[in-house]
Amino acid sequence: MREAAASNAHPSARSPWRPPSYWPFVLPAVVTVSAVIVFPWVFTLWMSLHEWTVGGSSSFVGLANYLRLPGDPRFADAVVHTLYYTVLAVLLPLVLGTVSAVIFHARFPLRGFLRGIFVMPMMATPVAIALVWTMMFHPQLGVLNYLLSLVGIPPQLWVFEPATVIPSLVLVETWQWTPLVMLILLGGLAAIPAEPYESALIDGANRWQMFRHITLPMLAPFLMVAAIIRTIDALKSFDIIYAITQGGPGTASETINLYLYSVAFAYYDIGYGSAIAVVFFALVIGLSVLLLALRQRTKWTEMGGAAL
C-alpha cells in the first residue's frame, strides 16, 4: 500500500497530467495468478513430457505419454462418454432454460421469490445434492421410481445400469444448471425492444410466430453465450459424477475428467495424467473457440457482448 503511494508521487510531481501508473494495484494479482494459475499450466506441460511418479524419480520421455493415448481403450471410452454427456447436458438446459426465461420474463406475483427458488439448485453444494439424488435414484426405495409408477412407467435402474447412467446424470446436471441458462437469457429478453412485437401484433402474428421470428433471433447471441458456458461446464463436470457413480457401473460413466482423476490420484501416474490434462484442456479450449467462431456468425448485438 505504501509502495503504491511512493511509486506514484514521483511521476505526478514531474508532469501532473501524465496518467500515473496503476501497476502497484495489479502487481499482487499478477504474482498470485502466476503462482496458482499460470505455473500449474506450464508445469503440467512439462510433466506431460516425463515419466513421473509421486515421490519417485522422473525421466524425460518426450511425447511418449501422448502416444499412449490413442491406444488406451479406457481413454477412448472416456472421450465418447464425455461427448455424449456434453451434448445432452448442453442441449437440455438450453431448451428448458429458454422456456423458463420466457416464463420468468412475464409479470406475476412472488416473481422474485420464485426466481430465488429456481436458482437454488445451481448454488447448492454439489456433493450434498448428489447425495440426495443418489437416494432418489435408488431402484427399490427411491422416490423417482415411485413417481414413475404413478404414471404407469415401469421402474428404472437409473445410475445403476450402464445404459441409463449417463442420461440419469445429465438429468441431475440439467436440474442443476438450467437456472444459469435461464438467467443469461432473461438478461437477453430484457434487452429486446417492444416495437417489433407491436408491429407484429398489428400484422396479426400469433404468439408462436412472434417467438419464432422475433424472440429467438434476438436471443441468438445470448443463446450462444449460454451454449459456450454450458459446453465448458459440462465438459468439466466432476463433482456430480464422482459423488454419484465414481464413473461406474464399471466405467460406464467415466468421463475424461474422472479418468484423469484415477490416473493421477489413484494410480499416481503423474506424467500420463498430465498428458491427459493437456489434451483435455485443448479439447475444452478448442470447443469453446469453435463456438465463439460460430457466435461471430450469428447476429451480433451490443447487448450480447454484455453477457460475457
Binding site: 448454488m123 437416494m135 453465450v225 466432476f238 460475457l308
Partner: protein, 274 residues
C-alpha cells in the same frame, strides 16, 4: 377482464408452478428425508411427512465430535481464500479497468475454462515438496484458483462503469493514487465488492474436487466430510440427508437473502469456480 385474459393468467401460473417445482420439490424431499426415521425412509409408498420427526438425525450430526472440526476447516479455508482474494483481486480489477488492459483478462477467461484437476496435479506436487500437506494451507492456496478470478472479473466490470470525474477531481486536489482508490473509487464500487464476496464464498464453500485430494483426516472441509460419510461411516439415509442439508444450508440461505446481488453477478460475469 376478458375470458381470454383470465385463461392466459391461469396458464402462466400453471407454467410457473411446473418450472419451479423440480427445484422446490427436491429441497422439500431433502428436508423430508432428513427428518425421518429409518423405517419411514424405507417405506413404500414413500412418506412425505412422517408421524414422528427424527430430530435426532440433526442432533447426531451436530453432536459428533468431528463436526466442529470440519465446519471450522470449511470456515477457515473459505474465509481466508475469500479474504486474500479480495485483497489481491479488488485492486487488480481497479488497475486493469483504469489501464484499459481488459485484454489481460483473457487469462481469467482461460482460467475459467481450465478443468480444476489440471491445477491439482502440479500444485499437489508443489505442496508435497514444500511440506505443507497435513495443514490447511494447500486448500487455502488452491481455493485462490476459484476466488481470485471471480473477484477480478466482477471488479473489472464494476470499475469500468464507475465515473472517472470524481477521481480526476480528487487527483487535482492532491490525492495520490492509493488515496483516490481507497476514498473515491472503492466506496462507489462497494456493491460490486459485495457481489464478488458472495460469489467467491459460495463457490469456495461448495468446492469438492480440491478437498478430496488435498485434505487429510484432520483437514477435511464439510463437502469432503459428507462424501466420506457416504462411503465409510453412514449408511442410513436420515442422518446422511441431515448432514447434506447442514452443509448446504449456509449457501442456500445466502442465495435467498442475497438473491438480487447473486443474479446480478452471475449474469454480468457468468463465472463459476473450479
Amino acid at each position: 377482464m376478458t375470458l381470454r385474459a383470465i385463461l392466459d393468467r391461469l396458464l402462466l401460473m400453471v407454467a410457473v408452478i411446473i418450472i419451479v417445482s423440480p427445484a422446490l420439490l427436491f429441497f422439500i424431499w431433502m428436508l423430508s428425508l432428513s427428518l425421518k426415521y429409518e423405517v419411514d425412509n424405507a417405506a413404500y409408498p414413500p412418506i412425505l411427512i412422517p408421524e414422528n420427526f427424527a430430530w435426532q438425525n440433526y442432533v447426531s450430526v451436530l453432536e459428533s465430535n468431528r463436526f466442529p472440526l470440519f465446519f471450522g476447516n470449511s470456515l477457515i479455508v473459505t474465509g481466508t481464500a475469500t479474504l486474500l482474494g479480495l485483497i489481491v483481486g479488488v485492486p487488480a480489477g481497479y488497475g486493469i479497468a483504469r489501464m484499459k488492459a481488459t485484454r489481460s483478462a483473457i487469462v481469467i477467461l482461460i482460467a475459467r475454462m481450465t478443468p480444476g484437476l489440471s491445477y491439482l496435479i502440479p500444485l499437489f506436487l508443489l505442496f508435497q515438496w514444500l511440506g505443507l500437506m497435513g495443514t490447511l494451507w494447500p486448500q487455502i492456496i488452491i481455493h485462490l484458483v476459484i476466488t481470485v478470478p471471480i473477484i477480478i472479473w466482477i471488479m473489472i466490470g464494476y470499475f469500468e462503469t464507475t465515473p472517472m470525474e470524481l477521481e480526476e477531481a480528487a487527483t487535482i486536489d492532491g490525492a495520490n493514487r492509493w488515496q483516490v482508490f481507497r476514498h473515491v473509487a472503492l466506496p462507489i464500487a462497494k456493491p460490486g465488492v459485495t457481489v464478488a464476496f458472495i460469489l467467491a464464498v459460495i463457490f469456495s464453500w461448495n468446492n469438492f474436487v480440491f478437498g478430496i485430494v488435498l485434505a487429510g483426516r484432520e483437514t477435511r472441509t464439510l463437502p469432503v466430510a459428507v462424501y466420506n460419510m457416504i462411503s465409510f461411516e453412514q449408511l442410513s439415509w436420515g442422518p446422511l440427508a441431515a448432514a447434506a442439508l447442514i452443509v448446504t444450508l449456509p449457501v442456500l440461505l445466502l442465495t435467498i437473502i442475497a438473491q438480487r446481488q447473486i443474479i446480478a453477478g452471475l449474469t454480468a460475469g457468468a463465472v463459476k469456480g473450479g
